[in-house]
């Protein structure tokens, strides 16, 4: 299984502003000059490769969209603004693809705003299957394709769309995947998903505050997480911010670390970065999570508890994870 993240920002598409770009260029040039003096053999490529990832590329500004592939099967999770780049890519690299599958976790703007820019929905020879647990999936899609929200009416795309309602906590076959929706803790009903194929499992848990925090409180929804190979988790806020933003529906890195350790998850990717956060701010939240992770491992060891080592980081737009 392979997961490509086309959009990792939360709530609102967040392009890098001209002022931030200028500030970053100035910083990089300053760093270049500083290091050039101290390196005996200096290569520009080495310098660029050595820059922190949040400086050389940033975390990305497009909202939630992931492409999950296994063998010849492909599944899209959410249609945030990241789906536009996926649309361009797939029509270039696999123009013969005739059928697509999109799972919607919920219909907040940041998870559907890219759909009108997903070109296959306008192509008569394509079928786009849309899946969700919600009863109002079709109504939600119709709302997007309605003036004044968007000039193209739903009737133009209707023939290409297939609407599928999924049952909560019941596995469904989508291509070569088995997808089981589990409920997340978000202000509006939001359904994460456990996606399985080829003996690997992906737990998609973005847009969750984890207000049900113990294994028992999660009940049946704990199965979303347990023993998954990859957990994609919500870290919109730093730990301190999350403590202030009660019932905003989002979590933080340290909570994801503890959840993953308890549920024997192997790997965690954190996303849904706050649109109000600069790359430096997200980097600081990632660093806070790193310090917390190191400390909790040390504390668990001292307390005589298991010290499950996790592979984790904060997501960057465009990255691919191979399971």
């Amino acid at each position: 299984m392979r997961v490509k993240l086309w959009g990792v920002r939360g709530s609102l598409p967040t392009p890098l502003s001209p002022a931030h770009l200028r500030e970053r260029i100035e910083w990089v040039i300053g760093e270049f000059e500083r290091r050039k003096k101290s390196w005996q053999t200096f290569k520009t490529a080495d310098f660029v490769a050595d820059l922190p990832a949040h400086v050389s590329g940033g975390y990305g500004g497009n909202t939630a969209c992931a492409e999950v592939t296994h063998a010849k099967s492909r599944l899209i999770i959410d249609a945030g603004s990241g789906i536009r780049a996926f649309s361009e890519n797939v029509l270039t690299t696999s123009p013969q693809t005739s059928e697509f599958h999109i799972y919607f976790t919920h219909f907040h703007w940041d998870h559907v705003i890219g759909l009108p820019f997903f070109a296959p929905i306008y192509m008569k020879n394509k079928i786009v299957n849309c899946y969700a647990v919600h009863d109002n999936l079709e109504a939600a899609l119709r709302t997007i394709f309605r003036k004044p929200n968007f000039p193209v009416p739903y009737e133009v795309v209707e023939n290409q769309l297939r609407i599928h309602r999924l049952e909560p906590r019941q596995p469904a076959k989508i291509g070569g995947f088995t997808l089981t929706p589990y409920q997340l803790d978000h202000p509006d009903p939001c359904w994460g998903a456990r996606i399985e194929a080829g003996g690997k499992s992906l737990a998609w848990a973005v847009d969750t505050e984890c207000t049900r925090i113990t294994h028992e409180e999660l009940g049946e929804d704990a199965k979303l997480y347990t023993n998954s190979d990859l957990l994609v988790f919500d870290a919109q806020y730093s730990f301190d911010e999350a403590l202030e933003k009660i019932n905003w529906g989002h979590a933080s890195g340290p909570i994801g670390i503890d959840l993953a350790m308890r549920e024997s998850v192997k790997r965690v990717i954190f996303m849904h970065h706050d649109p109000a956060a600069s790359d430096d701010t997200i980097r600081a939240a990632e660093e806070q999570t790193r310090v917390y992770y190191d400390e909790i491992l040390r504390a668990r060891k001292q307390a005589g508890l298991k010290t499950p080592e996790l592979d984790w980081h904060f997501a960057h737009e465009g990255e691919t994870i191979q399971l």
């Binding site: 113990t214 730990f239 503890d258 917390y292 909790i296 307390a303």
Partner: protein
């Protein structure tokens, strides 16, 4: 080990001693009446705190804001100090740390011990700390040094509440 809580009352002061692990399964005590004197939270036997436990702790502390007296944390182990430093909120503005441990270890023989620093003795409200950062190892006679990164460990003292 789940969290155990021991409550003792002396006049209008209440001491709550915590023992074990503070995590998402922990049950924090309800007090039947507001504390009119000093509420002392003794953390000497708290062995581990995770982020979910801190969530619970902070919610619990917020409910203590209607208390009439003061709140102090005593006998804070390094695990507590580390979490105070990493994750804000564990120590609210209206509480203060009245005593905490600093760990020492001997690089030569591995011996370790902790020293309790007390407000009014080793440190004051101006955040001046005075204590020996090195001493003779009672096990091998070598050097017993601080087993912490000094600036990072004492960062919490710069907080308003510390």
């Amino acid at each position: 080990m789940s969290l155990k809580v021991h409550i003792t009352t002396e006049g209008s002061d209440v001491t709550i001693a915590f023992e074990g692990i503070l995590d998402e399964t922990s049950r924090l005590p309800e007090l039947s009446e507001p504390v009119k004197g000093e509420l002392r939270l003794d953390l000497e036997k708290l062995t581990l705190i995770n982020s979910m436990g801190i969530h619970k702790w902070i919610t619990w502390m917020r409910h203590r804001t209607n208390m009439q007296g003061s709140m102090v944390l005593v006998n804070c182990r390094p695990v507590v100090i580390n979490q105070i430093n990493i994750l804000r909120g564990f120590l609210p503005d209206y509480a203060r740390v009245d005593s905490f441990f600093v760990p020492y270890s001997c690089e030569n023989c591995g011996f370790d011990e902790k020293l309790l620093l007390k407000r009014g003795v080793e440190y004051d409200d101006q955040r001046q700390v005075q204590f020996a950062t090195e001493k003779a190892c009672p096990s091998c006679g070598g050097v017993l040094g601080l087993d912490i990164m000094h600036d990072r460990y004492f960062k919490f003292m710069n907080r308003k509440s510390a």
